[in-house]
Symmetry: D2
Amino acid sequence: MAGNSFGTIFKLTTFGESHGEAIGGIVDGCPSGLEIKESFIQSELDKRRPGQSALVSQRKENDKVHFISGIYEGKTTGTPIAFIIYNTNKKSDDYAHLKDIFRPSHADYTYFEKYGICDFRGGGRASARETACRVVGGAIAKLLLRKYKIKIHAYVSCVGNIELLTDYKKLNIENTFKNPVHCPDIKTAAEIEKCIKKIKKQGDTVGGKVSCFITNMPVGLGEPVFDKLHADLGKAMLSINAAKGFEYGSGFSASSMLGSIHNDIFIAEKNKKIRTKTNFSGGIQGGISNGEDIFFNVAFKPVASIMQEQQSVNKKAEIVKFKIKGRHDPCVVPRAVVIVEAMAALVIVDHLLRAQTINL
Amino acid sequence: MAGNSFGTIFKLTTFGESHGEAIGGIVDGCPSGLEIKESFIQSELDKRRPGQSALVSQRKENDKVHFISGIYEGKTTGTPIAFIIYNTNKKSDDYAHLKDIFRPSHADYTYFEKYGICDFRGGGRASARETACRVVGGAIAKLLLRKYKIKIHAYVSCVGNIELLTDYKKLNIENTFKNPVHCPDIKTAAEIEKCIKKIKKQGDTVGGKVSCFITNMPVGLGEPVFDKLHADLGKAMLSINAAKGFEYGSGFSASSMLGSIHNDIFIAEKNKKIRTKTNFSGGIQGGISNGEDIFFNVAFKPVASIMQEQQSVNKKAEIVKFKIKGRHDPCVVPRAVVIVEAMAALVIVDHLLRAQTINL
Amino acid sequence: MAGNSFGTIFKLTTFGESHGEAIGGIVDGCPSGLEIKESFIQSELDKRRPGQSALVSQRKENDKVHFISGIYEGKTTGTPIAFIIYNTNKKSDDYAHLKDIFRPSHADYTYFEKYGICDFRGGGRASARETACRVVGGAIAKLLLRKYKIKIHAYVSCVGNIELLTDYKKLNIENTFKNPVHCPDIKTAAEIEKCIKKIKKQGDTVGGKVSCFITNMPVGLGEPVFDKLHADLGKAMLSINAAKGFEYGSGFSASSMLGSIHNDIFIAEKNKKIRTKTNFSGGIQGGISNGEDIFFNVAFKPVASIMQEQQSVNKKAEIVKFKIKGRHDPCVVPRAVVIVEAMAALVIVDHLLRAQTINL
Amino acid sequence: MAGNSFGTIFKLTTFGESHGEAIGGIVDGCPSGLEIKESFIQSELDKRRPGQSALVSQRKENDKVHFISGIYEGKTTGTPIAFIIYNTNKKSDDYAHLKDIFRPSHADYTYFEKYGICDFRGGGRASARETACRVVGGAIAKLLLRKYKIKIHAYVSCVGNIELLTDYKKLNIENTFKNPVHCPDIKTAAEIEKCIKKIKKQGDTVGGKVSCFITNMPVGLGEPVFDKLHADLGKAMLSINAAKGFEYGSGFSASSMLGSIHNDIFIAEKNKKIRTKTNFSGGIQGGISNGEDIFFNVAFKPVASIMQEQQSVNKKAEIVKFKIKGRHDPCVVPRAVVIVEAMAALVIVDHLLRAQTINL
């Protein structure tokens, strides 16, 4: 039973391989009457597009999204929204010498063992290129969230040993996409840029973290006991290529904290709106949003495609030496920022629609 | 759209509130012919039962599981397996004074806002008591995994500032359930016990971590691109009460690593079986198990029910002072160990069945 | 992948075997705040209970429903509603001689081949006793439909060669449950009663039809292109034991009709409400309710448990002669009436909740 | 919650409107290694294509299927199979005068009320053009069924008052697609052809029936208690445009039969294979296939687009007179034959994969 769909009511199904004709997807369950601003969706795609700067993969893809159905006179009709992004800049030759080799820490081996057949070109279905479709789905979700004034902001908070520890509330978040590493703190951004350049020169790659916060959340999203809001956010983030960890609110640091410190005391605003003084809960209590900001971190491993000679085995289980060609990212996190936002948007919209039930 | 079911082919649906008549569940999709050893299932339940030691909640529940359907002459028949656990030791009076108060960092406020009505007694549906049903479902899953010799071991690896950093392979894992804190390292277990006792005396609570590893994994479990094995494990763990974070393999530490270090080089054993030299991947590549051990960590926050006077607001948004009565855990992680194992078993079994498709 | 759940948002999962300890189910996704009138639910169950009259199975079951969770102070809380009906009047001895025999047109053979194991007592899971759980789920759904003033009425419209052809609008539908055959036309009811008695005396059984109509339908229920409202109604009805066919609106007679006759001309009422002059569409156009009455027929086969000596084969594929003991219905349709209503209610409520999305 | 996906393990999701750029779909869950014979798939599409004969819609569509993903070197890879069929012969002008009119017995009114917006051109999403995507999905399913030697044959068995009552076993089924009305009995085919021509000349339309049988069925497909094999077949058929009824095995005639006649006596063949003497069960007992042929009938209403002046209302609820232009079928059943087969193939493949679980 395959797993290429995400969401329950607002559901994205994606298709396509890195070096096939195209990638694309279907959004089923989008409410009708939503204005689809294609320029916005394209601008979202541009944030993850390869070839943007010297720091990312030099594959030159336009990543132009093309809508096929579900939109009439600029608005959604309630029918499935299909879209397609053609693969225009394939260089499958770069992969010919890898046809029978299982690249370390790639999905070659597991796909081959699972399916008995594998489109090895550019990682096939396992390529992060697939995430472009998530960005499209997420952009539609964001357009819907605008109606609720819910805002999602992600940014690079760590690359290698460089970590941005500033509270997200104190960041000039509009700076994020003004630099190639997508970090809103200009000083840290410069350090990260330097770090990635150095790593790239070494033919190596490096990991990092993306942080995300969601503001203006309504109370009540999240479905006990298994589809808790943070559980679905966690799954969404962990489903992104190269993700290794997820934490929300106090996260892993909660393990060393005391309850007397960690408890978020409730207070009442003048208008009787109930808030919490602190927000170790990360905006979610009992799996349900409490109206405070949601925030979380996602850890990413270093890209497996290093530009150094490596040892591995081939399909005959023989030891081989090889070197990866092609156009790869020395660090995945700058391009992951908009993917994190997109997956968050898909989760929030889906739970928004799931919560549209009637309380009698 | 509610979320009280977990899994796709092997599916657990749970029901019940902490102070209702009973809790229970249905496992649908369990293969027929599986011998149900009730004594094993009961022994699993006993590992999370309250009242086991001075370190955990003193609620005296037998937690006796009672099977109603789906089993005939000791074996599963392929029909739904329903089970029930009666709530025999309720003390709803302990909650009467809390009826209108939103306890800090509990689910009272969010449930009330979401549903407009709330069974406040003992946390109702949001109580961790619900996880007993997961242990039953997980125990059935473990019986099925035995047929595949897949083993799942979890243990407490951190409480407060005490952390067990030993590689899981060097632990005497059979020690885990021989001490009340469920830590396999005897020295660390003693420290943790001392720590929890101290915290309890202060009327406070403390967070911690549970680590888990899975051995003898087959290659090929996990479904790209959204239902990656680690994404489903992550969701499973994050759905457990009080969980704040999940990481697998190199986890958050991957963010500061280089690709040249992090890549797991493939090697071939004499029998041509392909293995990896290192295992930063945590047994999962491209979302699919590669046959190496799976391992991951789950972070838990300190229990919200501290034994100190606290401030909060009531349903009228008035500020109130109150003190929690009742029987609560100063630290949740010892009892979470078997729950982590249960949720892992549910995920692995479900993916095992999902992978039973035909490769032509 | 098993199939013991029905519905997507309002979801019923059932469990239990005919001669096990109990049958029951879980309703997940019922909105909170719904008043649960247990007396109403019990009265629904009483309509399908065996032992009501000389015409139906003499198994004396109280069929007393017992709610375990999801209800607090008489109202639903939005959490799973679990219920149980104990099997109090089992006579498993009646089945001992059938242990190894595949009864003709029963599910013994297919269950045994599918699962390799079978609780043969009373048909096990394949027994129509399971439908009592559908009646409970359907009764909860009916309570919710009352809020929308949607009404569902089913009745026996055919037994053997006796057919009630009167338009449903001309029936005194409140007569349905005033006679043992659950036919609203008193004259036809008497004929049917006579017919069933005769058949019973012969040790034989007979088939029939149940008709159903739904009034006060809102426009807009049904989800193209696969989950059309009538497609889900059809599946619901066909999932009832012994069902052989389903037709709605003009049904099978449409196959010989002309478009110029069959088209339902739209008209406008004074309040600009749009209606249709005729209703061959059966209240559904393009899979979506159009506000007119929905009506449909369900065909049922004669009960397989005849009271005559029969020939069959046993598990060793040897030819055997045998005679069924036990307490069986000579005609299933009178007891099927409330089951048809229940399944219709489940479908309508589920689609009502599915339609609660936002049109921007 | 929309409904544009069909199936659980082998899942087809379709998209597209009649007069949009294209229609298409994604098959997720197809096993890897299946050889995709595009010529076969195209030949299936050709069976439902408009413009084939004088009897069907004169819209000249190539209906050329184009695969985008999931196939590598002619074989499926286990990843999503996306396909697209361009709409090359749109004549949206034919619909301009209908923009504000609700055509009788079409989906215009219900779509408009449900979604508040409607792509009125050619019926938009509600057009039977969407079923071309089902034929593609079904053709892939048929390729998989070939591995199991399972065969599905549908044919026109009734148009208007002309009915083919011959037992399906006595038909030369290979004749079906040799005549424009897709009826395997040459004499009946001629009568039907004459009938449709006459109806067409009158500017009218007529209903009909499609019958279908499935041979070489394995025992064990179908999932109690809700996803019975015939319940899923019924839903599949009823989801086809214009379908009004479904019956399997003895069908509606069962309602007048006696159990002593209707029961299918088991017999054993020499090789101990268990069979039934008769097959009123239609190859399904207790919702599970018993190895005998499955057979069923589907009733279709007359096409709503008649070539006569009609009365209706517009969006302002004003009465209007209008005449449909465009290219329409006087009778839908000849083109429905391959759609019925496709939907049956989707159901059987899905249940085949659902049954791939392990019996211990």
